[in-house]
């Protein structure tokens, strides 16, 4: 029995009731009847990107009666026709336009952290939706590292609660950070999650089931999870949340226009105000006029777009007078450890998001590092799991022997809070993409604290797996998620946007995606990005009507 009222959710966001019942996953009628705007219409808001940040903002603003056009570079997915239950066949879900990676510790892009199309990265995210802890908003004050946000946890908390209801999130009562419950009860455990809980229990560590953005029980017309394990390939079931089904349907029903296949290459600013955006669609160039512009292209493409939008008034890139655009991009250190069990585990069953342990999240003064990490189970399918094996240096017959043993292995992953560093970030490379636009170069290097954290996380994962009975453990070093690059700050010298996500440089230009995070905690970022966008929408709704943003 749900402790939360579906009625209240539906009054705020009807998306779950707008996805169809029956044999189709897409509400074609809603798409056909979509309101369409002319390029010459000065819409209230044009949004660049239809992922976690852009789609949430579009839904909130459309519902409040604003005219909204949301552009996305990728396609508008139909889960039935476009997605497959297959790893190699899911490449189109990832942003695979050319990008350059550099630095001492370069970060793989594509399937690892970059989505494409309406729904954004959440189409292929694992589904974990934890909140940040209150400490994440003031790591500089508390721990002398990272940065303080211009807002606190309490400012975001109501929006965390709203979005958890709208996804909805399922999980056990959460004892960490600001303790809270979830609207849906935890899902049953799969074999990999069972191993995690077994090991944690032996060690006396608390591990909780969830929080995952998959309804457990009736929620609108969303289908129940069938525990098929292909969360990262796009949920054909319409069980796992992504904005494609959690916010876009309601946005459409309230008059928003979604324009897929539109690659925005310039935010046009004149006399200090944004006038709209220029974009390519099927080879032709267009200009969409707008009264306000929100950029939500995530931590690589948002800085890239601002840098590409340089003009005589903004020679070093739009909003970049203080050199803040593209800086402080963060990824979480995400080593994964696999353990070998004599019994068959078959970790490919059940959703990969299941169990989380946040016992090591906060700074522990007895350690030689600051901040911490979370541990979650992950369940790589064969192609992805082969990277675990080859990372050990195995190839040829040894690699095959390890892979032949696939059903015996369980995998844990960690999310380590790597610290924000000015040097880590996005610049424009000399390479050009198919449109002739300079591609992004993302440089990333770890600091000493980063290395210590990841070592500690690996050792805890090994302990948990061994406690559960593993006879051998292997670890692969990797990174997960992206945030930062246009961080929010108290002043323009320290960041790109203010506490309400408005750029310091252009009063009617906003950034509403993961790039605004000043620190990242050890939480998967999707929920925080959506909550920030929902909060920004409240700000826009309250101020626009009073004339603050009127031309």
């Amino acid at each position: 029995m749900s402790r939360f009222s579906d009625k209240a959710v539906r009054e705020r966001n009807e998306s779950a009731w707008l996805v169809p019942t029956g044999q189709q996953r897409t509400n074609w009628e809603l798409r056909r009847q979509m309101r369409r705007y002319d390029h010459d219409d000065e819409v209230d808001l044009v949004i660049v990107g239809c992922g976690a940040g852009g789609a949430t903002l579009a839904q909130r603003m459309a519902r409040a009666g604003f005219s909204v056009v949301a552009l996305d570079a990728g396609p508008w997915w139909d889960p039935d026709a476009d997605w497959v239950s297959d790893e190699a066949g899911s490449n189109k879900l990832y942003w695979t336009e050319p990008r350059v990676i550099s630095g001492d510790d370069p970060v793989a892009m594509g399937s690892n952290n970059s989505g494409r199309g309406v729904g954004g990265s959440m189409v292929h995210f694992a589904g974990y939706v934890p909140r940040l802890h209150p400490s994440d908003f003031e790591t500089m004050t508390r721990d002398g590292v990272g940065a303080d946000w211009p807002i606190g946890y309490q400012d975001l908390k109501p929006y965390y609660e709203q979005i958890e209801e709208e996804l909805p999130a399922a999980g056990e009562h959460w004892p960490w950070g600001d303790p809270h419950g979830y609207p849906h009860n935890a899902h049953p455990l799969g074999p990999n999650g069972e191993i995690f809980r077994r090991g944690a229990t032996k060690l006396g560590l608390r591990a909780k089931v969830g929080p995952v953005a998959i309804p457990n029980g009736r929620f609108g017309h969303r289908n129940h999870c069938i525990y098929r394990g292909f969360c990262l390939q796009g949920c054909k079931v319409n069980a796992k949340a992504s904005p494609l089904i959690t916010h876009i349907p309601d946005a459409l029903a309230h008059g928003a226009e979604i324009r897929p296949g539109c690659m925005v290459y310039e935010v046009v600013v004149s006399a200090g105000r944004a006038k709209g955006v220029r974009y390519f669609h099927e080879g032709a160039g267009y200009f969409q006029r707008a009264r306000m512009v929100a950029v939500a292209g995530y931590s690589i493409e948002t800085p890239r777009l601002l840098l590409l939008s340089a003009s005589s008034a903004f020679r070093d890139g739009l909003c970049n007078d203080y050199g803040q655009v593209g800086r402080y991009v963060m990824v979480q250190g995400a080593p994964q450890t696999a353990g070998r069990f004599s019994e068959e585990i078959r970790m490919y069953k059940a959703p990969p998001p299941e169990v989380t342990c946040e016992e090591f999240y906060e700074t522990d003064l007895s350690k030689d590092y600051k901040r911490g990490f979370a541990i979650q189970n992950v369940s790589p399918l064969p192609v992805t799991y082969s990277e675990h094996v080859t990372a050990q240096g195995h190839w040829g017959e040894v690699m095959r022997e390890y892979m032949r043993d696939y059903v015996h292995w369980a995998v844990l992953g960690s999310l380590c809070e790597l610290l924000p560093q000015q040097r880590n970030g996005v610049t424009l490379a000399d390479d050009k993409d198919a449109h002739g636009l300079a591609v992004a170069n993302f440089s990333h290097s770890e600091c000493a604290n980063d290395k210590l954290l990841q070592k500690a996380a690996q050792s805890v994962m090994e302990d948990i797996l061994r406690a559960a009975g593993a006879e051998e453990v292997i670890t692969v070093k990797r990174y997960a998620h992206l945030v930062g690059g246009c961080r929010m700050a108290a002043s323009p010298e320290q960041g790109v946007v203010d506490a309400d996500l408005r750029t310091f440089a252009v009063p009617n230009l906003f950034v509403t995606d993961g790039s605004v995070l000043p620190t990242q905690g050890s939480a998967n970022p999707a929920l925080t990005i959506m909550a920030l966008a929902a909060r920004c929408a409240d700000y826009l709704r309250s101020t626009s009507r009073s004339g603050l943003l009127a031309p």
Partner: protein
């Protein structure tokens, strides 16, 4: 859907595997049409080479088989799969600053591989014996810093990513490792460690009942012989 498979049920690459008789495609009637079409196409239609030239294909084919330990029939057609991917320009979505685009890096690294083989054994890579090929490839994996004009570790990563993502996306390899394969609209209902769906096949290899540790040691010894690193492993 009722079409016969182009091989006997339960076939694995090189006849290796521990799930005797397991045929992942036995479930294909419970898959969605899009996925079934994609996987069956992968199985039934080996694309013609369009990216690699003749000499490149010889070297690349030999390299991929060495990395994957694919020395016996039936084989997963990884060369054709990698070629199709490079022809379509389907990258992973990034390149290292010190590396050219994937397609260029593939062509260059194949030339370097032949150079290494010529220097060590006086013939091109694909003309070398299995042991010689193993030694050349091991040399690239062991190289510190640059290998010719490319960073060795990035070359290794490029090769192994393309090789493994082709091999382990093929149903013959799924048979070998006991993977359940596509699972939509049919999901899973038996989620406990040590338990199986009725159609999943238990690990069973009558002729090879040795424990995991012994099996992996045996593979490592055989690998050491193949790559000339035997002494180091003792």
């Amino acid at each position: 859907m009722s079409r016969r498979l182009p091989y006997p049920e339960g076939t694995t690459p090189g006849g290796k595997g521990r799930f005797e008789g397991y045929e992942v495609l036995g479930q294909r009637r419970y898959w969605d049409e899009q996925t079934r079409k994609l996987v069956m196409d992968r199985l039934e239609n080996t694309p013609e080479l369009k990216f690699f030239g003749l000499a490149e294909a010889e070297t690349a084919g030999a390299l991929l088989d060495v990395i994957l330990g694919q020395h016996e029939e039936p084989r997963v057609p990884v060369l054709a799969m990698v070629d199709a991917r490079l022809h379509a320009g389907q990258t992973d979505g990034w390149r290292h600053e010190a590396m050219p685009e994937d397609a260029v890096a593939w062509r260059e690294s194949l030339l370097f591989l032949d150079d290494d083989a010529e220097q060590s054994f006086g013939r091109r890579f694909h003309a070398c014996s299995l042991e010689e090929r193993g030694q050349v490839v091991q040399g690239v994996q062991d190289a510190e810093g640059a290998w010719y004009s490319l960073p060795a570790k990035h070359v290794w990563s490029l090769w192994s990513r393309y090789a493994c993502s082709a091999f382990y996306s093929h149903p013959l390899a799924w048979n070998e490792i006991g993977f359940g394969g596509p699972a939509y609209p049919r999901g899973y209902k038996v989620l406990r460690p040590g338990w199986r769906e009725p159609w999943e096949v238990a690990e069973q290899r009558a002729g090879d009942p040795v424990p995991w540790a012994t099996r992996v040691e045996r593979a490592k010894r055989s690998h050491a012989v193949r790559t000339g690193t035997e002494a180091d492993n003792r």
